[in-house]
């Protein structure tokens, strides 16, 4: 497989007094589609610029295929960047933009032309070779930038929020195309985004960042289904957060005393013990909502409440259920499910329940 590994260890970066990166370490695998995901200002671009060579870290090390690349200028690194604003050369045609990296080397005219046309075809722009960038749509500019970044056959492609300037529909389309291009060229992609759905849908693995730190690295499923911190849980889609203390262990689960709410069963204690304070999370779509009176099974977590609000949003309905303790639980129910919860509305008394397996401890403190 083509592509390279990227080893990032202990990277810090300060701008004056402000620490933009506070010790980031990551191991990105060969040929992986790796996403850096986090809210705006968390340091994603800074990290990408350090890999690309446009910013020097205050400390730490970056290796590509085991080689320390920090001493190398950007033009000597086997990494190319797709810039957020595309950064196409306005004085050159699409063809010349893509040919730019080759014109810097001495490459025979014929093979240059073949290469340029190959990459223009790859991004389906061979019909627009003679146009100036100003004559292209946002999506087309994006593709020129990708073709231009790929033509040097880098082992790493760095993409900084490449889709943020596109409208929602085009964004989805381009994302799928990026995924296909990644499959075709097989090199390592480092993809920066603040959009969790983008990251979840195409990444092999994701690093979730916040305020200069990497909070969790994992596959989309791991990140989504077992977030390691409250922040990750809340940033990656909507979730329910429950605070409590581990009350007892034994049998098939641990029981957490969640104060006024009652007792919540958890299967995986993640190393915490009886007496520790913990924060739990459970995804809204894991919750079932049923009319009161339908017996909940002994094995599930189940609570009684009233529907505070129900929102119909296309393929699913969102319910906000106020429990007797006053806590509000979010419940998502996809239409076309078994039909349970059908017809539930405002002020209805309901039972909310979920499988203890779907409850995760995201944070805790020794009690």
């Amino acid at each position: 497989m083509k592509g390279a590994t990227i080893g990032i260890s202990g990277i810090t970066k300060s701008f004056g007094d402000f620490q933009a990166l506070k010790g980031v370490s990551l191991d990105i695998r060969k040929g992986e589609f790796f996403s850096l995901l986090g809210p705006s200002g968390c340091g994603k671009t800074t990290l990408l610029r350090i890999i690309g060579g446009f910013e020097e870290p205050s400390s730490g090390r970056v290796e590509i295929d085991g080689e320390d690349i920090l001493p190398l200028p950007p033009n000597m690194r086997h990494a190319n960047t797709v810039f957020q604003n595309y950064a196409l050369f306005p004085h050159l045609t699409v063809y010349e933009n893509v040919a730019f990296p080759l014109r810097l080397k001495s490459i025979k005219r014929k093979s240059l032309d073949e290469l340029v046309m190959y990459y223009l075809r790859l991004v389906e722009l061979d019909g627009h070779a003679a146009k100036r960038p100003s004559m292209l749509s946002g999506g087309q500019k994006q593709r020129v930038a990708i073709a231009r970044a790929l033509i040097n056959e880098p082992s790493v492609l760095l993409l900084d929020e490449p889709l943020s300037a596109l409208d929602a529909k085009l964004r989805h389309h381009m994302l799928m195309e990026l995924d296909q291009i990644h499959d075709k060229v097989g090199i390592t992609f480092v993809y920066v985004t603040h959009d969790q759905s983008e990251a979840l849908s195409v990444s092999d693995r994701i690093a979730v960042m916040d305020r200069g730190n990497v909070l969790q690295v994992g596959t989309p499923r791991e990140i989504y289904e077992s977030p390691s911190t409250t922040f990750v849980a809340q940033f990656i889609g909507e979730t329910n957060i429950i605070d409590g203390t581990i009350e007892s262990s034994g049998g098939r689960w641990f029981v957490v005393d969640a104060g006024g709410m009652g007792r919540v069963k958890v299967t995986d204690p993640r190393g915490y013990r009886v007496g520790d304070r913990v924060t739990l999370t459970v995804r809204p779509e894991k919750l079932r909502i049923t009319p009161l009176g339908m017996a909940a099974t002994e094995d599930s977590n189940s609570f009684v409440g009233t529907v505070d609000e129900s929102v119909y949003s296309g393929f699913l309905s969102k319910y906000y259920v106020r429990l007797e303790s006053g806590a509000v639980m979010r419940v998502f129910r996809q239409h076309g499910d078994q039909g349970e919860g059908e017809g539930l509305g405002w002020d209805d008394r309901v039972c909310v329940s979920w499988n203890p397996r779907d409850t995760f401890i995201v944070e805790g403190a020794r009690g």
Binding site: G52, G53, F54, P73, P74, N75, N80, T81, F83, N85, A87, L88, F89, P90, H91, T93, Y95, F100, P101, L104, K105, A129, A130, R148, A149, N152
Partner: protein
């Protein structure tokens, strides 16, 4: 798009441009015509012209002395312009990238507040035999007798560059300021060295600023004469000096006007040259476009 509606919509373009047309006619076209007209008339002995057609002013230019003035004018203007642009480019670049743009801009403009002649005299007091440089050099014992720093080509070109640097920096600054500097990062990312990024990406994109700066420098330099008079020697005189002398010393107006016409032609040669290279660029781009469409 119905007919009557369109007709009702009057085109006021001519009315808006009328003041400009009047202005240009009065203050540009009329004097220009007078210059051309007078150059084809005979000279009156005490200045002025006689109403008699004559090409004597032009035929009189075919003298080795005048030819030398042409040569001086062209090479001094070209050399001064080239040095000015080469110095202005990095200045404008760093100004555009600086955080204190306004401050630097003011610093560049401040010398403008002083009269041009005064500034030349300031330079004289730096360069002359008992001037600043010589006093320092002799004071520290580096030289025994004062160096001849004025009355040479280098001094003339130095002061030309000094005078026109601001005129070159300003248009360059305003175009470079609009340049998207991430393009330089992109170029480097794609394999260009810093220098290649500048020559292959920055310069082509600020071309219009360079062209303006060249004109702002080269064209006034073609007609300059004060610097040669004050800092140069008679050997360094240019066409501007000859025009000045013809008006004030020889009272030969038609020759002065003929020289002015020649000077204008010279300036226009530069203009046409630049315009042709621009058109050629557009044409090759067009040709490439057709090639690719055919392929």
């Amino acid at each position: 798009m119905s007919g009557p509606k369109r007709r009702r919509k009057r085109n006021y373009g001519t009315i808006y441009t009328l003041p400009l047309v009047v202005w240009f006619t009065l203050f540009f076209l009329v004097p220009l015509l007078i210059i051309v007209l007078f150059s084809f008339l005979a000279a009156d002995i005490d200045g002025g012209v006689l109403p008699r057609f004559s090409i004597a002013a032009f035929t009189g230019l075919a003298k080795p002395r005048i030819l030398k003035l042409f040569v001086n004018t062209i090479w001094v203007s070209l050399a001064s312009t080239a040095i000015t642009i080469l110095m202005a480019l990095p200045c404008a670049y760093f100004m555009a990238r600086s955080k204190n743009k306004t401050m630097l801009l003011i610093l560049v403009i401040i010398p403008f507040w002083t009269n041009f002649i005064i500034r030349i005299f300031a330079w004289k007091s730096i360069l002359e035999a008992n001037g600043v440089i010589n006093s320092v050099l002799m004071g520290i014992g580096l030289v025994a007798s004062p160096l001849q720093l004025e009355h040479n080509w280098a001094a003339v070109i130095l002061i030309n560059v000094y005078t026109y640097l601001t005129y070159a920096i300003l248009p360059l600054f305003s175009t470079i300021e609009k340049f998207d500097f991430t393009l330089l990062e992109a170029a480097q990312d794609l394999g260009a060295t810093k220098m290649q990024a500048i020559t292959k990406v920055l310069l082509p994109n600020v071309r219009s600023g360079i062209v303006t700066a060249v004109f702002f420098t080269f064209i006034p330099l073609l007609g300059s004469f004060v610097v040669q008079q004050l800092i140069g020697t008679k050997d360094m005189y240019m066409l501007g000096n000859e025009i000045n002398d013809n008006i004030y010393k020889y009272f030969d107006w038609p020759t002065a006007y003929a020289l002015a016409v020649a000077l204008m032609m010279l300036a226009n040669v530069g203009l046409v040259f630049v315009m042709m290279s621009e058109r050629k660029q557009a044409r090759t781009l067009g040709a490439r476009r057709v090639d690719e469409a055919a392929a």
